[in-house]
């Protein structure tokens, strides 16, 4: 590398910790969330080992309860929610719209510090005794019964929320104000639409969870009667407030992933996306409708029958835009020129797992069905298909696809393909048996379980081993590629996005001259042969 780029532009720890460059901040997030993922994965490993046998023999009951709680908190709030937006979104949103940075670079850096402050509180809670309320913090257990480190964990989530809010704000302003000339709304890459929709959820939803979780801390700390009926509060109110955010939060995790998948499928089939307008608008429809379905988590809580019916029907409606996306991605492949590079394998894996996760979500929206499987492993399997199958496949697919741009190095193709396949297989081996265990009646969050569920649990643990190995592969070869990978050309995939018009890795200012956009996105049929690598 001879040219100056954002990585070698400056040296020393402070050049990173005080950077205002959105690309460097993305790297800060990448490192932080990877460490959190490893921590969350470690908790998952202990959970799966404990569940190998029906008896509670590896961990004490309280320890087990802390494991699934901290697995959930770390993975949801400190890995999945920031994953694509804070890493890939941070890196790519300005580059894809031809901007030099986000609208508020300092605020962007502040967001990372806020994330780290939240993480510090939560890690403090984890390493000084742990939390055992479940990541859902249901009251009055969390406020009146649990005697673990609920308050610091809650404060950690409260603080991290602001990081999301500010990132969302930054994205929205950037997308509105900083698009390159000629880049009209309907010429935007679908990745941008997805991040726009996600940002709306960040801004509208996150304040609610932040306040709700703060109220838990207040009731716990000062005996303020909000949720505990013994203090005159309403425990079910907590569930309404919690899911008002936490259902849309699922879309925070999965919408950016959908944006990534749209990029990958078009690039590796060399086709313009089928039904661009429908895919773009469906992201917005999901973001809006997603706010109206939270009550589907309360079908057995004693919520009124009529409320349940309304939440049920709205939950069916929100499934339609997701289905539309899947159909459009499939149609995009038609008459394409499909290359099975690792990112595409991840994208197709996403479609498979998301379809299963989405359809089982439809099952759960079905009132009579939900009564039986609510709070069982069926639900556990369903949301892992969405959040790990969906969000994680999209994240890894995107990380591979943009890795040459981010690092300036190519990842090794064959290990990556094998890794993607192992993750796909391992994932299904882990979580498919849980659908069966759930329907057979195994409740979630059980430290011990009746022996008839053992076979399915052993299968699940075996699958988790495969999945774990699958995750170690990219971790290893991506690090390896930083040193030994082939130097990446500016546009190794012959892709159309503006981010590929800069060198790999890009200079600090992204573009020497502001690009001028005259074409729609995904104009693959017109890429001239001269650009062949």
């Amino acid at each position: 590398m001879t040219s100056t780029n954002y990585i070698n532009a400056d040296y020393g720890i402070w050049s990173w910790l005080l950077t205002k460059d959105h690309k460097r901040i993305a790297i800060l997030y990448l490192v932080s969330i990877t460490l959190m993922f490893i921590l969350g994965g470690f908790f998952a490993l202990l959970i799966r080992l404990e569940l190998l046998t029906p008896a509670g023999d590896l961990l004490a009951a309280d320890t087990y309860n802390k494991m699934f709680t901290m697995h959930g908190i770390v993975m949801v709030f400190f890995f999945l929610i920031p994953s694509i937006p804070a890493v890939l979104g941070n890196f790519l949103v300005p580059m894809m719209i031809g901007a030099r940075d986000l609208a508020f670079p300092r605020l962007n850096l502040a967001s990372w510090y806020i994330y780290m402050a939240g993480a510090a509180f939560t890690l403090y809670a984890i390493f000084t005794g742990g939390v055992d309320t479940g990541w859902t913090f249901y009251t009055p257990y969390s406020t009146a019964a649990a005697n673990t480190k609920v308050i610091p964990a809650a404060l950690g989530i409260f603080i991290t929320g602001f990081s999301s809010i500010l990132t969302g704000l930054n994205f929205i302003v950037t997308i509105h104000r900083m698009r390159a000339p000629g880049l009209t709304w309907f010429r935007l890459p679908l990745f941008i639409w997805a991040h726009y929709a996600t940002s709306i959820i960040f801004i509208l939803g996150t304040p609610v969870i932040a306040i709700t979780i703060l109220l838990v801390a207040v009731e716990r700390g000062f005996n303020f009667g909000i949720f505990d009926p013994k203090l005159g509060g309403d425990p079910v109110l907590f569930q309404h407030l919690f899911w008002f955010y936490s259902h849309p939060a699922v879309y925070i995790m999965v919408l950016p992933s959908m944006g990534v998948v749209s990029e990958l499928i078009t690039c590796f089939s060399r086709k313009t996306v089928f039904g661009y307008g429908f895919v773009a608008v469906s992201s917005m429809a999901i973001a809006v409708l997603g706010f109206l379905v939270w009550g589907h988590h309360l079908f057995v809580s004693g919520q009124s029958v009529y409320a349940s019916m309304i939440f049920s029907v709205l939950s069916f409606l929100v499934a339609i835009p997701s289905a539309v996306k899947v159909f459009n991605w499939t149609a995009t492949l038609y008459r394409g020129s499909i290359e099975f590079a690792a990112p595409l394998i991840y994208a197709l894996g996403f479609i498979g797992l998301f379809t299963i996760g989405g359809l089982t979500g439809v099952f759960l929206a079905t009132l009579g069905f939900d009564v039986h499987v609510h709070d069982t492993y069926f639900v556990v399997a369903h949301f892992h298909y969405i959040m790990v199958g969906g969000a994680m496949m999209g994240y890894l697919g995107g990380l591979h696809y943009w890795w040459p741009k981010i690092s300036g190095r190519m990842y090794p193709e064959w290990p990556a393909r094998i890794g993607a396949a192992i993750i796909f297989i391992g994932f299904n081996l882990t979580f498919f048996p849980q659908f069966l265990a759930g329907y057979l009646g195994m409740p979630r969050r059980y430290h011990m379980y009746p022996p008839e569920f053992q076979v399915l649990n052993v299968m699940s643990t075996a699958g988790a081993t495969v999945l774990g190995i699958g995750y170690l592969l990219p971790l290893t070869y991506l690090l390896w590629s930083l040193r030994y990978g082939k130097a990446a050309p500016a546009n190794p995939w012959r892709a159309t996005g503006l981010e590929w018009q800069t060198p790999s890795p890009p200079p600090t200012d992204n573009f020497a001259t502001t690009p001028f956009v005259t074409e729609e996105a995904y104009d693959y049929s017109s890429v001239p042969e001269a650009e062949l690598v």
Partner: protein
């Protein structure tokens, strides 16, 4: 058949079969669409795999007709699923009028059961086959959830209020009772059995005395072998309710016949005297004052266990308007507040 394949838990209630039928429908429709999508992707992947870096692809922007088709058809199917699910849900939410009554109180980490006839048990629930059973649930501490997979029913037990579930067992045997809502250390130990018996065996079991699995610890003083109404009556006298609420008394509203009827309140609104209202009137009497009465009743919060409150409610419900007593006029039902 599903049961023999090990795909579903025992089908031991009327609802179990209906739920499994709905599940079969959902799975079939989903399989059809998943296979369709998967097959299409595989077919395209093979047929349109990259042959050369110079492959030229056509520019296809989409098709509004297709978009409408693949929005409207899934929507139609979704509405069928919704309707079917809602129909089953309404069945689950409407206990038949002739159902047997059982009270179940969740507590970290046990299920305490009170039969109307007086028997009490812990982590066991004996029921007769072929008769609807209505379970009234509450909790003494955190939220629990009453889950019997073999019956395909689940209902949260929420502290501070009553929820209900019902089932009609169709097969003799004993089935898992789980707590499905995470409730702390021994959440996974909060399990028990629902034992379905022949009606004659059940009668014999009921008559077997009240002290069964549940020792006195579970219910406090007013327990033993008495039925709920008798136990409630004893409490009613012991706790002094009788002073203001006995027939002819003027300080408190008359209770006979009030249960299930409309009550007029001081602020002009009305309320139906359901279990939740009766519970609130005992524990937080100031919350709703009956028209024409002063807010003088002391609270019994902290002085009664949830089971005792249920006994008092059973007693209040058993009171029939006595003849010739003007204040027990059915038109303006009144109750203790």
């Amino acid at each position: 058949m599903l049961e023999r394949l090990g795909l579903v838990p025992p089908q031991a209630s009327t609802v179990a079969v209906q739920t499994d039928l709905l599940s079969t429908f959902l799975v079939t429709v989903s399989l059809f669409f998943s296979i369709l999508i998967a097959a299409t992707i595989v077919a395209f992947s093979v047929k349109y795999r990259r042959r050369s870096e110079r492959d030229v692809t056509p520019r296809i922007h989409g098709s509004t007709a297709l978009e409408i088709a693949w929005s409207v058809i899934p929507l139609g199917i979704a509405m069928v699923m919704f309707g079917w699910g809602a129909h089953l849900f309404v069945t689950l939410k409407r206990p038949p009028d002739d159902a047997l009554q059982v009270n179940v109180v969740g507590k970290q980490w046990m299920w305490k059961v009170q039969h109307l006839e007086g028997r009490r048990e812990i982590n066991e629930l004996h029921v007769p086959i072929g008769r609807p059973v209505k379970v009234t649930l509450t909790s003494e501490d955190v939220i629990h959830s009453f889950y019997v997979p073999a019956f395909r029913i689940k209902q949260d037990a929420v502290p501070g209020r009553y929820t209900t579930a019902w089932f009609e067992a169709t097969r003799i045997g004993s089935y898992h009772l789980f707590c499905a809502e995470y409730c702390g250390t021994m959440h996974s130990g909060m399990i028990g059995q629902v034992i379905v018996m022949e009606p004659a065996d059940y009668e014999a079991w009921l008559a077997g005395g009240g002290v069964s699995a549940a020792p006195a610890a579970a219910g406090g003083a007013a327990g033993g072998g008495q039925d709920l109404v008798a136990a409630g009556k004893e409490l009613f006298e012991q706790k002094g309710c009788v002073t203001c609420h006995q027939p002819g008394a003027v300080l408190g509203p008359q209770l006979a016949g009030v249960a299930g009827h409309t009550v007029e309140l001081q602020d002009g609104t009305t309320v139906t005297a359901d279990d939740d209202y009766l519970r609130e009137s005992i524990l937080s009497p100031a919350a709703k004052i009956v028209k024409g009465f002063a807010p003088i009743m002391p609270t019994f919060k902290g002085q009664l266990t949830e089971e005792q409150v249920l006994q008092l409610i059973a007693y209040i419900k058993s009171l029939k308007p006595s003849t010739g007593d003007a204040s027990a006029d059915a038109g303006t039902g009144k109750t203790g507040s």
